[in-house]
């Protein structure tokens, strides 16, 4: 008997179609796996009743024929997505007890396609973090360990629960969101695939906002084919998000031919950072060779403003966050502080926000408030937006030269230990996103593919960056890289 939890979305879909298994059987298997994996702290709100109800409906739909690809497939949903009647807290204390009366467009699309929601997944608070350590639910734990060392490692962040759950076979796939690398970095830290589509591909409606000009949802899956299948179900125009694009959604899976002969792959010299670990350097060189062997043309390129992407991000993202998070005022939803006699409305706001927001969120809201304040708006915020224009132009220039995709490392290191960065200044943590954040600033699609292990047996990933709206072509290049790398390692089960 095959272990159902080890299936990919594509395999499970085909088994459901063939009648080898039912969605109810699949769902029950995953619900048990989730209950056995509380040590990973990946699922923070379990929804077994909803899951079984949807599984039954999916089985009926499959029996009738003509069910969509995702029909009957059990998945996890990041806590950032509002889900009707199910706690949706963005891993924040300030949204304690919040149960939305509505469903986010992306999770609604997945539901409409017949996907089965198993529960909500852990993450960094308001998606602000790279290690899942800012969550009000506590840390999510990476199923991977360094050799025989039982020290707990981070699954990355902010979509850390999604990454841990997929890597540990607690669901077939999960939704993530990515503002500066929050899909791609955790995917790389856990040996799975994650794609952030072009800004505007997925509706942001009903997704708790962090930095609206950067946020995008995307799938986190076991392989590239699954990413193609799930992305197609997630994206599409939505009247409720005016920045969502009105373009046809291609059949991404049908574009996976693995043929990348003649494609031009750019290798940006600015991503060769000082002090880059030799293992990362080798991973990158190996990946380059794989694409070359598959028939791609390798071209050295320059993206001169790369160095300024992180500092620009740490102006723009906190600025937008300070504005977006102004809505948490203790009036309409979530937590309200207990007030002392004589406290007025200002005290209510200040106490509520001090109690409800964690440290990192408070810091970013205040940095954002500062860079937007009178006298500093031009010096910080407008300057950062100008630099953002230059960063986007860097990419436009190389695409104009005929580059089809850009290959870079996904992260500067493998997963680090939980607590290891506690004493570091915030900038050290921010450096996790050094290779991914440019992609958000330029609004481009980027995918992280696992391609190797480090000397301690931890997964490492490479990132491919594509042209806007060409996720299909990008996924095909990722598919070719995946085929060549042949990454099959899985974490040993200790939980």
């Amino acid at each position: 008997m095959t272990d159902l939890t080890k299936l990919t979305l594509a395999e499970a879909r085909d088994k459901l179609r063939a009648g080898d298994v039912t969605s109810v059987e699949l769902t029950e298997t995953f619900l048990k796996a989730i209950d056995d994996a509380d040590a990973l702290n990946a699922f923070v709100h379990k929804t077994p009743e909803i899951a079984l109800e949807r599984a039954k409906a999916a089985d009926a739909r499959i029996a009738q024929g003509d069910a969509p690809d995702m029909c009957g497939l059990p998945i996890g949903i990041k806590d950032l997505f509002c889900t009707k009647g199910v706690a949706s807290q963005a891993a924040s204390g300030i949204l304690e007890g919040f149960t939305p009366e509505y469903e986010s467009t992306v999770s609604q699309k997945l539901e409409d396609s017949g996907a089965v929601m198993l529960g909500k997944l852990n993450m960094d608070e308001f998606a602000m973090g790279s290690s899942n350590e800012t969550s009000v639910y506590g840390n999510a734990i990476n199923p991977w360990r360094r050799g025989n060392d039982d020290a707990a490692l981070t699954p990355g962040g902010s979509s850390g629960g999604s990454a841990a759950a997929v890597a540990a076979d607690l669901c077939l796939a999960a939704t993530g969101t990515d503002t500066g690398g929050s899909i791609r970095q955790p995917a790389a830290f856990t040996g799975i695939t994650g794609i952030k589509p072009t800004y505007g591909r997925c509706s942001r409606w009903g997704v708790v906002a962090f930095a609206s000009s950067l946020d995008q949802a995307g799938p986190m899956t076991k392989d590239v084919r699954d990413a193609a299948i799930m992305l197609e179900a997630m994206c599409g125009h939505d009247e409720k998000d005016s920045t969502s694009v009105d373009l046809p959604v291609p059949n991404f899976e049908a574009m996976l031919t693995g043929d990348i002969r003649g494609k031009k792959i750019g290798i940006p010299k600015e991503y060769r950072m000082d002090g880059m670990p030799a293992e990362i350097e080798k991973l990158w060189a190996d990946g380059t060779e794989m694409l070359k062997a598959a028939g791609a043309e390798i071209v050295d390129i320059s993206l001169p403003h790369t160095k300024y992407a992180l500092p620009a991000y740490y102006v723009i993202a906190p600025a937008e966050a300070s504005s977006n998070l102004a809505r948490y005022d203790g009036v309409r939803y979530g937590h309200r502080a207990t007030l002392a006699a004589g406290d007025g409305i200002t005290e209510m706001y200040e106490k509520t926000r001090a109690e409800g927001f964690g440290h990192e969120v408070q810091r970013r809201v205040m940095v954002g408030t500062y860079v937007l304040s009178a006298g500093f708006y031009d010096a910080y915020y407008n300057r950062a937006r100008r630099v953002r224009t230059l960063i986007k132009q860097d990419f436009e220039n190389v695409f104009a030269q005929g580059i089809d995709a850009i290959l870079t490392p996904a992260t500067p290191s493998a997963a680090f230990g939980l607590g290891e960065m506690t004493d570091a200044d915030p900038i050290q943590m921010y450096l996790n996103d050094v290779f991914t954040v440019t992609v958000n600033l330029a609004g481009l699609p980027g995918v992280s593919v696992p391609t190797g292990l480090d000397s301690q047996g931890l997964p490492l990933g490479l990132q491919l960056i594509g042209r806007p709206w060409e996720e299909g072509d990008l996924l095909n290049t990722a598919y070719a890289l995946e085929q060549a790398a042949g990454f099959v390692a899985k974490p040993g089960k200790w939980w």
Partner: protein
């Protein structure tokens, strides 16, 4: 540019986040670390460069100016920490 404790207190006030007096020095220090990092942007020549407004050049969609939903007072109030008689309740605002 260095942030002192009084600036940190001012920013906390603007952000409507209560910060205790004794936490201000550490907060100011953290601001300075982040702002020091951001200072690098001053090296970039941005003369004549337009600040980005939208990462994807597109005209925002327009729709008919009609009511699309409404009449859901109960749903809107369902998550309020304090709702009374069909309203959100807050401490006294005007004396």
């Amino acid at each position: 540019m260095s942030i002192d404790e009084s600036t940190a207190a001012k920013v906390a006030k603007l952000a409507r986040i209560k910060v205790e007096e004794d936490a201000l020095p550490a907060l100011a220090q953290e601001f300075n670390a982040v702002l020091g990092f951001i200072e690098q942007l001053n090296e970039v020549d941005v003369e004549g460069v337009e600040p980005m407004v939208s990462v994807t050049p597109m005209r925002l969609k327009r729709r008919e100016d009609v009511v699309t939903d409404g009449d859901q007072q109960e749903k809107i109030l369902s998550n309020a920490p304090d709702a009374r008689e069909g309203f959100f309740a807050v401490p006294k605002v005007v004396e």
